[in-house]
């Protein structure tokens, strides 16, 4: 009799635990990762590929190499049974190099080009290489460097062709554009800094989780290999 009562109590306790477990899973269905996890490389030191779980909802991603940031993104994440779903829905698109042109015409047989080169904060850039295609020169290009005010002045013979320009400066992405050699131009070129990376937006990545532990998790890659993402320690 006594043994039967004890058995009943044990069964009831197990039922309560199962019920509590079910309730916990219903109320807290999401697994949680905190801090930054970086992909473990066989030979580390050249790249970093890291996910930071900022809250129980938001993440940031950054992939870097020797030349700075390659790609990055922000968004929302969630865990399902064995998947980590990264929704890049909060990344801001990045502004790229661009130019503004003012043109005028006259009856001269030459055109006058004034090219102002600036960074995105509007600071003039000195010593910028402003090069353009020139079939008459040795290497097929001619060019001038911008002065201390960030200005390059060029006079060319007027004709009906387009002229291809390439604006390059250390620390900035090369900017290319073409202009009509029929007109005079006053151009402002805004150069984008190098190494800021490409933003990822409106992309959903699904990582197949193999193992998840407080200090690391592993995922199955598309090629079938297992990649480990290890928690970045301070």
């Amino acid at each position: 009799m006594g043994i039967a009562i004890l058995k009943d109590r044990s069964v009831n306790r197990i039922k309560v635990f199962i019920l509590m477990g079910l309730m916990f899973n219903t109320v807290y269905p999401q697994k949680k990762l905190e801090d930054t996890f970086c992909m473990k490389y066989e030979y580390p030191g050249d790249y970093s590929n890291c996910l930071t779980f900022e809250t129980d909802k938001n993440f940031t991603y950054e992939y870097c190499g020797h030349l700075g940031v390659l790609k990055y993104g922000h968004g929302e994440y969630k865990f399902t049974d064995s998947q980590l779903i990264l929704n890049y829905n909060k990344t801001e698109p990045i502004k790229t190099g661009h130019h503004l042109s003012e043109i005028w015409t006259n009856n001269k047989d030459t055109i006058y080009l004034k090219i102002n080169i600036l960074d995105f904060d509007g600071f003039p850039l000195h010593g910028v290489s402003v090069i353009y295609k020139d079939s008459l020169s040795k290497y097929g290009y001619s060019g001038v460097a911008s002065n201390k005010e960030g200005v390059a002045l060029i006079n060319l013979k007027k004709d009906r062709t387009d002229l291809d320009f390439e604006i390059s400066h250390l620390g900035f992405n090369i900017y290319k554009f073409s202009l009509d050699k029929n007109y005079n131009h006053n151009i402002s070129v805004f150069l984008q800094k190098q190494g800021d990376g490409l933003p990822i937006l409106n992309q959903i990545d699904t990582l197949e989780i193999v193992k998840i532990r407080p200090k690391y998790f592993t995922v199955k890659r598309k090629d079938g290999n297992i990649a480990t993402w290890r928690k970045l320690e301070d």
Binding site: P44, G45, C64, H66, G143
Partner: protein
């Protein structure tokens, strides 16, 4: 650009430092900073060396990383500051031809820089050897050791996330097991473990 002082010769890395030192147009900056996984990073001619790496690496490893990153800065300056060099267009067109010949779309990419850098391996090794004799161990660890160190970073990642040895690394060291030995040697110096030959910075 100033002409080199007669009878004074520089190593490749010293020549790069001189190039920046003599220029009124472009500057080289070197700083330490927080990088999540890479030992070093170079944007334009701004080099950042990882704090975590500086804590654990040997001085020899740090010197080889500094040399490697200054070569990135050198390639960046040669490709962008075309008008600052007498052979500016010639060098730029050679870089573009190298990219086309090797099927590389973007010259400002890890893949291009690390493939192109294969041509400088011996120059980087000699720079490291002379640095080590002057400022490091003040001994000579043997040419092959410095040459192995100069291969550091000569890889890129494919779209699946695999680290691939550059073709230039494969051409110079065709045997995979030899390349793996070099990579392990680099890791030893990077981690400053008991198999490293360099010393930890004090």
């Amino acid at each position: 650009m100033q002409n080199p002082i007669p009878n004074v010769s520089f190593t490749f890395s010293e020549s790069i430092l001189k190039l920046f030192n003599d220029s009124d147009t472009f500057n080289l900056t070197i700083a330490n900073g927080h990088l999540k996984g890479a030992n070093g990073s170079t944007k334009g001619a701004s080099i950042t060396i990882s704090n975590d790496y500086l804590k654990k690496a040997t001085d020899l490893s740090i010197a080889r990383t500094m040399i490697h990153e200054t070569v990135h800065a050198y390639l960046n300056v040669r490709y962008t500051q075309v008008l600052s060099f007498e052979d500016g267009f010639d060098f730029k067109l050679k870089m573009e031809k190298f990219a086309i010949d090797n099927g590389i779309a973007n010259i400002n990419s890890n893949k291009f820089h690390h493939e192109f850098m294969g041509q400088y391996v011996d120059a980087m090794a000699a720079s490291l050897l002379i640095w080590d004799e002057k400022y490091g161990s003040r001994t000579n660890l043997g040419w092959e050791y410095y040459r192995s160190m100069a291969f550091g970073g000569l890889n890129y990642e494919d779209s699946a996330g695999n680290q691939i040895d550059t073709n230039s690394f494969k051409a110079l060291v065709p045997n995979k097991s030899d390349r793996d030995k070099i990579k392990n040697l680099l890791i030893n110096e990077q981690n400053g473990n008991s198999n490293s030959k360099g010393s930890k910075c004090k």
